[in-house]
């Protein structure tokens, strides 16, 4: 029983503030010897911030850490490692260009007269990996092995160096089922040896399969820490997505029938290893919401629709005519717009002005030789800034100085300027304060009323319900259900995501 084991690591009252954003607020966490402790939460819940604090990559603004009952502070990951805390990331942080043996012993190679004793390293590496059930050529380059093997090698290195606490940050994200089994076997053995393991994943079934306890974070706060026994997937999903009290719409569901002609028709679009083939029809004046946990394939669908990733097959029809969408330029030509999830990296051009950010899609559509005059640019930017109420002191200032909400509206304006037929919004309200939140929702509603077809991905369930005619639910990289009318309410969505509710797999006409 894990309860009998001592607490290895304890964090109390941890807070971390970035600028004006409280990434973590009074979070407590504890890890016992011989347990697998799952850490769950959506993007922005504070998961990765907490992990970075526990492993020394960040320093908390408040709160304290204890290892074996002794208060500690970590200045860097090396110090956390010295206290017995090792981390293995999803992206294997080893050296692909060096041998397995060298990866295991880098930084602590046995030497004689300053020369590395290669044979001894290889011998010891072989023995070490045998205890993990791996019998491989340790002289081979690391990159010649599968990600699962690389993960195990990374675990072996982390355990060798730290040996008390092992943090597994999304280790299974790119593994197939047999590889996951191999990895879990290793984790169970380490657990039996008395290590404390923190397991981060977005695969709920794996949480139930492997973990003893779970801590759920949401919006930087701890929701619960409890034993997994006695919980089911619906409870977990509900706690993860939750109900944001600060954000209250109470809008009634939108009449699914209030929509116009078919605008865009996707049929049998899919991409191997990314999204199972799906078909979806969007009408004039319709918002189709997308719900699903992180990693369920929701962003991948958006990328496929916009031609960022090439589809393996399937067809796209716009206004009844087939179009080819193999790249974003073709998507723009077909009248599609895409506001990506990571606004800072993929959306805005930070150093360009607000005006330039707004006109850029239109200019791209017009081509090199039909440059918009400065007067036209100013007029266009002004019109859309007024329409969407973009608050900027002046449209010539760099867009990176604007608040998240205003940046998001500027990206919306960018696509509205090309007079789109279809807009894809991926998490339009992420990282935006509550006031601007409601405004974005109002804007989406207004665009729908004006006859646009929209595809909106969101993990805020109340929000999705507030603006969608229909909601498609994604799980394990496939569209698993579609909800509309009376079924369209947060609880039903939670059940569909968790896979415990009646799944309406058939698309409605």
């Amino acid at each position: 029983m894990p309860q009998e084991h001592a607490t290895l690591l304890r964090a109390t009252g941890i807070a971390k503030i970035f600028g004006s954003h409280r990434a973590l607020d009074e979070v407590d966490f504890d890890l016992r010897a011989g347990e697998v402790h799952a850490l769950l939460g959506e993007n922005g819940a504070g998961k990765s911030t907490l992990i970075k604090i526990l492993t020394g990559a960040y320093q908390p603004d408040a709160g304290q850490l204890e290892v074996d009952g002794q208060e500690v502070t970590f200045r860097d990951p090396q110090q956390a490692q010295a206290h017995g805390i090792g981390t293995v990331y999803q992206e294997v942080n080893l050296l692909p260009n060096r041998s397995v043996a060298e990866n295991l012993f880098l930084g602590r190679q046995p030497t004689r007269w300053g020369l590395i004793r290669r044979r001894e390293i290889e011998e010891r590496a072989r023995e070490l990996l045998k205890t993990y059930g791996l019998d491989i050529d340790v002289r081979a380059e690391l990159s010649t092995f599968s990600v699962a093997i690389q993960q195990i090698i990374a675990i072996a290195r982390a355990v060798e160096l730290s040996g008390k606490v092992l943090v597994l940050d999304e280790p299974t994200a790119s593994l197939d089922r047999t590889e996951v089994d191999l990895l879990f076997k290793v984790v169970r053995e380490l657990k039996a040896k008395g290590l404390g393991i923190i397991f981060i994943t977005h695969f709920l079934d794996q949480v139930f399969e492997l973990s003893d306890r779970v801590t759920i974070l949401r919006n930087g706060r701890k929701i619960t820490t409890q034993a997994l026994a006695g919980l089911d997937a619906t409870d977990v999903v509900r706690m993860m997505l939750g109900k944001d009290v600060a954000f209250d719409h109470h809008l009634t569901g939108i009449d699914a029938a209030a929509r116009g002609a078919v605008r865009v028709e996707f049929s049998q679009m899919g991409r191997a290893g990314s999204v199972a083939p799906f078909s979806l029809t969007l009408h004039e004046g319709e918002v189709v919401g997308v719900a699903g946990l992180l990693g369920s394939g929701r962003t991948e669908v958006a990328r496929l629709m916009f031609g960022v990733d090439g589809a393996d097959g399937g067809t796209v029809m716009v206004d009844g005519k087939p179009v080819s969408i193999r790249n974003p330029a073709q998507a723009v030509a077909a009248g599609f717009g895409f506001c990506p999830e990571d606004r800072k990296a993929d959306g805005i051009f930070g150093d360009l002005s607000v005006r330039e950010n707004i006109i850029i899609a239109l200019q791209a559509k017009l081509g090199w030789f039909r440059a918009l005059s400065r007067e036209d640019q100013i007029e266009l930017a002004g019109r859309y800034a007024d329409m969407l109420d973009i608050r900027a002191a002046d449209h010539d200032m760099p867009i990176k100085l604007l608040s998240g909400g205003n940046q998001q509206k500027a990206i919306l304006a960018r696509w509205l300027a090309i007079d789109p037929t279809f807009l894809i919004l991926d998490e339009p309200t992420r990282g935006i304060d509550v006031g601007a939140h409601a405004e974005i929702v109002r804007t989406i509603n207004r665009l729908r009323e004006e006859g646009l077809a929209l595809f909106v991905i969101s993990s805020e369930l109340d929000e999705v319900v507030a603006y969608s005619n229909r909601v498609v639910v994604m799980r394990d990289r496939a569209m698993v259900a579609e909800l509309a009318g009376a079924d369209l309410e947060p609880d039903a969505i939670v059940r569909a995501i968790a896979g415990t509710g009646p799944a309406q797999a058939e698309a409605r006409p």
Binding site: P77, Q78, N93, L95, P96, R98, L106, F145, S146, L182
Partner: protein
């Protein structure tokens, strides 16, 4: 076979083939005399290329090498002829100055997070400019030590001469091979070239290693300057103009990946020798313009970059899958 070795085998095969073809045409090329000259004439390039190998292995580039060689030759000439120092003392001063220069560039690259291309470009102008300020004109060096060194050689069977500077180059290569493959410093260089982020997370002292790499490169460039000075008995600010590019070409032709992480110091040796061979062939032919060297090197370089692209993009996908035993 380890894919890192494949470009090296290709280079070696091309070198052997080219040498055999040259010998078929000019049988006189198969002599220790030619081999001895090949080593002597390319000694300074070889020494500088060893340093460049470490820089490129770590994913960087050092454009200051030629300028450092030029500066060193002038500094040595000034110290010997104007100050009246003994050549050995002048060499020591020159090497210390070069090492400090490299350390400063390495520190700038690491702490200011400026790409090595930019920092060493600035270093190139600084060193070349400083050399011209010291003396814009060529300074001839007359010293008994210089004549003694030029007379010191091992006579090879067949009349070839293994000169002091050729032996120095071979020694530097031996040192480079041990340093790269058998020391913790070498492991750190490869680690940074593989992935700097991972290396840092794995506890590699990135700052110390980066500074070490550029210090090594500049010191070896300084040593190449010493050799150049011994070879030409003169110091001139425009010596070794553009030599860094020959060194980079030798490293890449020798099988080191330009983006870092893969390669062998021994490969660079073959790369240097291949360049020397082309030059020797042109001398033997007598009718070809010496610019043909550049054309051949350019062709080879391009071929190797394409070859590396093929090797490192296709086989990276082919992964062994190992199940539970």
């Amino acid at each position: 076979m380890n894919r890192a070795l494949r470009p090296l085998f290709a280079t070696t095969a091309i070198f052997m083939l080219a040498y055999l073809m040259a010998v078929a045409q000019f049988p006189a090329m198969l002599s220790t005399r030619v081999v001895g000259n090949l080593l002597t004439d390319n000694a300074f390039l070889g020494i500088a290329a060893v340093g460049m190998t470490f820089v490129i292995l770590s994913g960087g580039i050092d454009l200051s090498v030629g300028a450092v060689i030029g500066f060193t030759t002038v500094l040595i000439a000034v110290l010997i002829m104007w100050v009246g120092m003994h050549p050995l003392a002048a060499f020591a001063v020159a090497l210390i100055v070069a090492a400090a220069f490299g350390a400063a560039m390495g520190a700038a690259i690491h702490y200011l997070r400026v790409p090595s291309f930019i920092v060493t470009l600035a270093g190139m102008f600084l060193a070349r400019g400083a050399a011209s300020v010291l003396s814009p004109d060529s300074i001839g060096i007359k010293h008994e030590f210089y004549s003694a060194v030029s007379k010191a050689y091992i006579l090879l069977p067949g009349g070839g001469r293994l000169t002091t500077i050729a032996m120095l180059m071979l020694l530097v290569f031996a040192f480079g091979i041990v340093l790269a493959h058998r020391t913790r410093f070498g492991a750190c260089v490869y680690a940074i070239g593989g992935s700097e982020t991972s290396a840092a997370l794995m506890g590699v002292p990135v700052a110390r290693t980066t500074i070490g790499i550029y210090t090594l490169s500049s010191t070896l460039a300084g040593l190449a300057g010493v050799v150049f000075s011994l070879y030409t008995s003169a110091g001139y600010s425009l010596n070794a103009l553009g030599m860094e590019l020959d060194a980079i070409a030798a490293v890449v032709i020798g099988g080191t990946l330009l983006t870092g992480g893969y390669g062998l110091v021994a490969g660079t040796f073959i790369g240097v020798m291949l360049q020397g061979l082309v030059q020797t062939y042109i001398v033997f032919d007598g009718t070809l313009s010496s610019w043909w060297t550049k054309i051949v090197i350019g062709g080879l370089l391009f071929m190797f970059i394409v070859l590396q692209r093929l090797i490192f993009s296709t086989s990276a996908r082919k992964r062994k899958t190992v199940g539970t035993p």
